[in-house]
Subunit: 319 residues, 2 copies
Amino acid sequence: MVDFARVGCIGELLVEFVCTSRNGRHRRAGEYLGPYPSGAPGIFIDQAAQVGGRCIFVGAVGDDAFGEVTRQRLIQHGVSPQLIRVVKGAATGSAFVSYNDDGSRDFVYNIAHSAASQFDVDDATATALRDFRLDVMHVSGSALGDPDMAAKALKAVRGLHADGVAISFDPNVRKELVGHPAYLGAVKEMIGMTSIFLPSEEDAEALFPRRALNDVADEFFAGGARAVVLKKGDRGAEGVTRDGERASFAAHRVEARDPTGAGDCFCATFVTLWANGAFNFHDALARANAAGALAVTKVGPMEGNSDLATIEALLRAAA
Amino acid sequence: MVDFARVGCIGELLVEFVCTSRNGRHRRAGEYLGPYPSGAPGIFIDQAAQVGGRCIFVGAVGDDAFGEVTRQRLIQHGVSPQLIRVVKGAATGSAFVSYNDDGSRDFVYNIAHSAASQFDVDDATATALRDFRLDVMHVSGSALGDPDMAAKALKAVRGLHADGVAISFDPNVRKELVGHPAYLGAVKEMIGMTSIFLPSEEDAEALFPRRALNDVADEFFAGGARAVVLKKGDRGAEGVTRDGERASFAAHRVEARDPTGAGDCFCATFVTLWANGAFNFHDALARANAAGALAVTKVGPMEGNSDLATIEALLRAAA
């Protein structure tokens, strides 16, 4: 068996608070659970480390207790903190989510003026990433919404892509930004460098309206990509590779308690197991599908991340 | 009976979250209650309005749900929102408090880079304050910790002081800043303009170490002040006026659930009832002492604020 992949990721680190009373829309006092370590890129790298990846992260937190919550969680699971900056005098980024009976969610964010985007992508960062000998660098589209963070993520990815590092990309589209040329430009530049494309169905519909998976995948393969995987939420996942492998899975039936982070967990599991051939396409996707199911059973964005043994146990129980 | 005072205040508006699990120090996920409207100046003006003051506030919130929580609470209680700015794209200031079994508290703040200090003190503000025909303008020392906010608060107070408006000042000393010349300079400039001085015992000890109340009060009276009142927490309060009135009260015995905000509530009750003679010194101080006791019985910084009828009811019950 080969070693698992060496995986990098870049973007916002946050803490998240989850409101346990419904329909409050953050406009009246209620009960919240937190601070949970969060940020889509943070959820991704935590899971990549949990399933056995050698991981490094480029991001920033404030020099407060919330920053420690997120930073220490990643360290605990083996992520290298070398490129996680602790910004003096800045508040750690935060997100508050509240659920409504009509299925909608309300958010309050403190990201734009927080520590979250205050990481460096300079020559030292590029050298450290090169020295880490990455197999794959992952970007979540959540990091492209902030122009400053997007510029730094793209700069890092350009260098690694030029060095031959595979790029995986979860577009995680922010629909309200699709009309902004700068945002759409960043997404398109990422797509042009992508080796592993991991959209949700909503992402695929926003970026490639009314087009079938095969059709979109062929376009990616023509551009040099190796795999396209479609995340279908509670209807499972399906994917196809440039080499003609195909796999499709129904979702595991679990009690969904908090869907946040399941997509990031799915992506991390797939990328880490498949990027350098530790698992074949079918088996890596099966494990990603199981990891995504486990992720929704716990409250908190990365509380439902799980190690490979737990994932294998779910697969055995389901067989 | 004369009308109650016309009261102004300036400084930070926040939301606060209170951790209900102890000893977590914000470093592990726990249960929090919030968002509660907060900020010492906000607590003050809410209580001033609740006991019948005509109130105006100079401050700022972000254009998010948390900002609405605090702004709407003040509006609900009759505070004029004319000078409360809603800052586009900024996060509302926030504070997280967690209690420990050893009596200490841990805080996480997002204030410096939040909307909290982004209010204007320009000619239009000065005109609006003058048109409001204030009897008294209050400053909490909490607003002096941030240099930008301190400069704006001092600018507003200087103008009003020159116009003959009485200034009340709760030094609310931040001990860790006493060594900073700029902070101490702001506190001293405030003291020089103060008509009603309302320190806690800790404040008095930090600013006038080992000096008796009478001694400190005489110094204030020589400088033009009208009253000095010492807040002694769970041992009550005592005060003295330039005209030689004295009063001293033991604290009411109540179940203390959350001490945050009790001092601000005390100051607001006293200032609003006494500044223009609606109550005599003894009676105003008795009501401030009762309001402070009521304040600690509720979780949330200004949730324990109360109207005059509730305060009178406590006094009757205690008699």
